[in-house]
Amino acid sequence: MWFFTDEEKELQKVCADFAQKELAPEASHHDEAESFNLKAFKKMGELGLLGVTADAKYGGAGLGAVAATIVMDEFAKACASSTLSYLAHTILCVNNIQNNASAEQKEKYLPKLISGEHIGCMGMSEPEYGSDAVGMQTSAKKMGDHYLLNGSKMWITNAQYSDIAYVYARTGSERKNLSTFLLEKERGHYTVGSPIHKMGMRGSPTGELIFDRAKVGAAHLIGNQGDSVYHMMKNLELERITISGISLGIARACVEQCTRYANERKQFGKTIGNFQLIQKMLAEMSSETDMMKHFLYSVAREYDNGHKGASIAAKVKLMLPKMTTKIALDAIQLHGGYGYSREFPVERYMRDNKLNEIGAGTNEVMITIIAKHLLNET
């Protein structure tokens, strides 16, 4: 991007090299085996990337949305699954702690999460409360010096590998009475259900967090009781921008792979890049990818400059995953039979990206947010 600082350009290079070396060679294996590239995850810690937005005093890089998006973009170009796990750890867990926890809590939890010694996750969705997240029913009942947690959280990225969970629970009957708890698996605050088998993002573990009369000390409450809805929604903006970075990385991978293939594959005596139908697919996917890149990074920069807004983040999140699914479907089509086989990565790109139209708020929820904003403005 033309407006990247030297520091951002350097970050981009470091991430691209890392992705090429540590993520790309393993991506197809972990997709096939539904396993997690733990080794690479730990190395992200060594590189200092697991706390990209956290304060330097806890080991973080102290950077913002543009930097976090650069990491997602470059990583996802090689392996979207590892990137999703990275996002759940860095944006959903670490960044939330950074923004909402007390100095004491930060001191206690952030260094290990940022070094990669601990893996973090976040729990918002429940089996019956997806788009309607604020309706959640997992309850935390105050019992003197501790809380009793009951319920479960669904679709939790990193659940099986997590040591720390940043979890929202209901502390009162009125709809918005939600509180946040920082839970430790080792202390028995939660257990993890059986792994969830998915269409894509198979190299990123997904599970259920279960709270069965879990006793959680009051020191694990983050912020004030009943005060979490605002923070929850606030962090979603950054989540939506950064998850769109995963789609951008996938789209770029599609363009690169398709261009290579169109130059190599011959039919009717010439490389298929000579056919206008193929040219149309290539030209469109490349234009759309450039458009997405400029849109996404501009919004990320605005976010860092303090011009925040749920509506623009929702627009990013609506457009990038949706366009990338179309691009990835075309990428398979351009490869024909080979594209459908798992020998080429394009079918994985499509399966992985579909998640981005659902996670962090479905396309439909984005539409609702954007429309509500438009209608209330006029």
Binding site: S131, M154, M199, G200, G337, S341, E357, I358, I367
Partner: protein, 376 residues
């Protein structure tokens, strides 16, 4: 409107797929397992040789009837539907281009569903440009020696009878001939099995021929007819792939409507949100349009009305619709739609291949455009 025969066929297949296919489907998809016993039972139901003459054990019905059966079957399993579609295509080739001896010898076990037929045209270097295939059939005493390999062959390994296109003469379409090669012929083996995104119950493999001797009596019609045979078979194959696509779309819609009526968010069923209603209204409309096109293309074929353009349009429209509709279905289901617990993610993975097989949708556009040029 379905005929009486079609209604009966649909009813039987509905029951069969729900009772016999659905229970192990998710597991079989995961393990890439094809069950021959299921195929044979489909044979007992009379679905594995629908458009073939009764004297060869077929049902003596129409392609339109085959299409109705495939649409219904594909609601549960694209894989079994495709196995029937391809085997029926092979039977169609043998019936149309084979001599009475060949028909007698090869058809009955295929029509009954005891065995499966496979069609081998594509090679690693020749996909859409099929006429440039490289595999050779060299004339020797009493027959031909086949050398080369075939790629992406549906039902490879489970099929007993293969119709194989190989070059007996000059470069280009006119040098190609079609042979019937039985499984187990010396010098013929099944190569690497493809790992695929979807369509996993149906095996797709490479075929390898190393000095495989095929007796002259297994040549279909005469030398040089191979490409013509392949093209005429694909014209029919396109219609049946379209029918399968309609089934995929319909199932995706059925699941979406049911789920959205049951699932509540924000205190109401998600069906009541207009965003979803419009999505499903579009889905239903596109599926209905696809179904009508497929029906018409099959009708034309059954009544000897030559219309290659309509067959291509039916394949193009129905498979694009299946892709779009199944993608939307995953979206309507949200998180659970992305998991293997519900069928919609499988429908989406299975749908994609329909845009590629029996001529990619790009090739359909080439065909349609070619016809357009002739018309004006």
């Amino acid at each position: 409107m379905l005929t009486d025969i079609q209604s009966e066929l649909t009813k039987q297949i509905t029951r069969f797929r729900q009772e016999k296919i659905e229970p192990t489907l998710a597991e079989d998809d995961q393990n890439e397992k094809f069950r021959m016993e299921i195929y044979r039972e489909l044979g007992n139901l009379g679905t594995t040789g629908i458009p073939i003459k009764e004297e060869y054990g077929g049902a003596g019905l129409f392609y339109a009837d085959l299409c109705v059966a495939l649409t219904e079957l594909a609601k549960s399993s694209v894989s079994y539907a495709v196995t029937i579609s391809v085997s029926s295509m092979v039977q169609g080739i043998i019936q149309e281009f084979g001599n009475p001896q060949q028909c007698q010898k090869f058809l009955p076990e295929l029509t009954s569903g005891q065995e499966i037929g496979a069609f081998a045209l594509t090679e690693s270097g020749s996909g859409s440009d099929a006429a440039s295939l490289k595999m050779t059939a060299k004339k020797v005493k009493g027959g031909y020696n086949l050398n080369g390999s075939k790629m992406f062959i549906t039902s490879a390994g489970i099929a007993k009878t293969y119709v194989v296109m190989a070059r007996t003469g000059e470069a280009g379409a006119k040098g190609i001939s079609a042979f019937i090669v039985p499984a187990g012929a010396a010098g013929f083996r099944i190569g690497k099995k493809e790992k695929k995104m979807g369509w996993k119950v149906s095996p797709t493999c490479e075929l390898v021929f190393e000095n495989c001797f095929v007796p002259a009596e297994n040549l279909l019609r005469e030398e040089g007819m191979g490409f013509k045979i392949a093209v005429s078979a694909l014209d029919k194959g396109r219609i049946t792939i379209g029918a399968i696509a309609v089934g995929v779309g319909q199932r995706a819609l059925d699941e979406s409507v049911k789920y959205s009526l049951e699932r509540s968010q924000f205190g109401q069923s998600i069906f009541d949100f207009q965003g979803l209603q419009f999505m499903m209204a579009d889905m239903a409309t596109e599926i209905a349009a696809s179904n009508l096109l497929v029906e018409r293309a099959a009708y034309n074929y059954d009544h000897g009305i030559k219309n290659q353009m309509l067959a291509s349009m039916a394949k193009l429209k129905a498979t694009d619709t299946a892709m779009k509709v199944s993608t939307d279905a995953v979206q309507i289901f949200g998180g659970v739609g992305y998991t293997c617990e519900y069928p919609v993610e499988r429908l989406m993975r299975d749908a994609k291949v329909l845009q590629i097989v029996e001529g990619t949708n790009q090739i359909q556009k080439v065909i349609i455009a070619r016809q357009l040029k002739k018309q004006y």
